[in-house]
């Protein structure tokens, strides 16, 4: 009976921690929101979602290395997790660790070939690495799968600029403006 009661207390405490964490996140107190999940991880060290959520909150708090540590544990707990592999790219990109981030994007693409987030984040990495020919081919290919997306057109335009193909960059930026009429970067380029 005592064991059962202590188990229930633990469940209620955990429920409390999730709610507290959500409220703190809403108030922009990301580090405290992550901290409130520590009690859950102490009782359930293999709680995948607690690690995933802590990683996200530490990313929001700007503690990128801590965020990466939690994402890596989440990946270790569930190697199939696309969530964790897509998530870890965010703090890696914030630290400009383009190669490491790209590796995770490619691992997602290998399992989910047309995953939008993986492709767009891989484009960000290609831009960070100044791999303009790769970015051009990549953005051009993906624009066929996501024809309504302005981000992909923007990366395509940037690759054209750096490959000294201004006419194609102009066309790509025109496509951006059709999809997002107040896009500052496209407007500035086309007003030159």
């Amino acid at each position: 009976m005592l064991i059962l009661l202590s188990g229930m207390t633990c469940v209620y405490a955990n429920d409390d921690a999730w709610g507290r964490s959500a409220n703190l996140e809403l108030n922009g107190q990301y580090e405290a929101a992550a901290g409130s999940l520590e009690s859950i991880m102490r009782h359930e060290p293999d709680n995948e979602f607690a690690h995933l959520r802590s990683a996200w909150l530490y990313y929001l708090a700007g503690q990128y290395s801590t965020s990466i540590k939690y994402y890596k544990t989440a990946i270790k707990l569930n190697k199939q997790s696309l969530d964790a592999r897509l998530g870890i790219m965010l703090p890696l990109m914030a630290q400009e660790r383009w190669r490491e981030a790209a590796q995770f994007a490619e691992s997602v693409i290998a399992e989910s070939p047309l995953n939008y987030y993986a492709h767009v984040r891989l484009m960000i990495c290609e831009e960070g690495l100044r791999s303009w020919p790769q970015l051009k081919v990549h953005a051009s290919s993906m624009s066929r799968y996501y024809p309504g997306d302005y981000s992909i057109q923007t990366y395509l335009a940037r690759s054209y600029i750096n490959l000294k193909e201004p006419e194609l960059a102009r066309k790509a930026y025109e496509a951006v403006l059709q999809r997002f009429p107040s896009h500052v970067e496209a407007s500035l380029f086309l007003s030159k």
Binding site: Q95, R99, E100, P113, V137, H138, S141, K164
Partner: protein, 308 residues
């Protein structure tokens, strides 16, 4: 169907497999110097080759070979062979947002003088070993998160061993604190370096056992343009620098001459997406405390670097 789609995407060039874990780069360089008013040398040529490998974003190793041929005024040639090995690791710490890199460089230099002459009516060429030099140089570099500045400090301990003469061995200790300010939307960088060099004895430097010099370097990066120019660098140095080790350029000075003033100007061009070409020209003024003379050198240094 899903497997087929994955295969199609993986085969798309520029999509999958585009970013490898290892990035290899090689560089080949040539330098030519001419000496004016020197009692020791007329000209020097230098050839060097470096290979650098970077694993993901946190680890790198490098190696290289430098050969210097200095022709001296008595028609003897002085050949210096230098081997370089380096390793670096980048740390990302939340308590200090930005990048912290730990670097360890090592050099080994050995020199020989080609003493050509006549013996019993025949030309004889004899290689005489001169001082060997070993350098170990750790460095710590911090770049802040917004890349608006960087600070670094490097230490180099050089041991100079006598091979054929009776001079005592020398240990040279060099400290180089440096700061870089990056401004104009990261299109410009001003780098200030202070060299402090001390020698364990002045046997090779005629009474000089401590030197200090200051170097200021301005680099401007160009935005994408039709000329292909990537950057230009202007560098000035003043003070006294002896047995200097420059981590930025992988240059080691294995002679006791005092570098008093230096000015250089260089530009880098983008040849294509994976290759660059660079060229530097410079003037340097030296004191040679051993023979009590002053001389100047002018040099041209050029090279190309390719990422594989």
């Amino acid at each position: 169907m899903r497997t087929l789609a994955a295969a199609v995407i993986l085969l798309m060039p520029g999509v999958a497999g585009a970013v490898s874990a290892w990035q290899l780069s090689t560089s080949a360089n040539i330098g030519l110097s001419s000496y004016q008013d020197s009692q020791l040398a007329d000209a020097q040529s230098e050839l060097s080759f470096f290979v650098d490998g970077q694993y993901l974003d946190g680890l790198g190793i490098g190696g290289g070979y430098i050969r210097r041929d200095r022709s001296d005024t008595s028609a003897n040639g002085l050949v210096t062979n230098i081997i370089y090995l380096g390793i670096w690791k980048t740390l990302y710490l939340d308590m200090l947002p930005g990048k912290m890199s730990l670097i360890l460089d090592g050099y080994r230099s050995d020199g020989s003088v080609d003493q050509s002459g006549q013996s019993k009516g025949a030309n004889v060429s004899t290689q005489v070993e001169i001082d060997d030099m070993e350098v170990i140089s750790p460095a710590l570099v911090y770049v802040n998160e917004s890349k608006s500045y960087s600070v670094d400090v490097s230490y180099a301990e050089s041991r100079i061993y006598s091979v054929t003469n009776n001079l005592p061995d020398v240990t040279v200790r060099q400290w180089v604190p440096a700061v870089s300010i990056i401004f104009n939307d990261q299109f410009d960088r001003l780098r200030l370096k202070y060299y402090h060099v001390s020698l364990s004895n002045d046997s090779r430097a005629a009474g000089v056992n401590q030197t200090a010099a200051t170097e200021v370097k301005w680099t401007h990066w160009f935005s994408t343009n039709d000329t292909g120019l990537i950057d230009m660098t202007l560098s000035l140095l003043a003070g006294d620098r002896q047995y200097g080790i420059d981590r930025d350029t992988r240059r080691i000075d294995s002679f006791a001459e005092l570098l008093k003033k230096a000015a250089s100007f260089g530009v880098t061009w983008g040849v294509n997406q994976s290759s660059i070409f660079y060229m530097y020209a410079g003037l340097e003024r030296y004191d040679d405390p051993g023979v009590g003379s002053h001389y100047e050198t002018g040099y041209l240094y050029m090279g190309t670097k390719k990422k594989w």
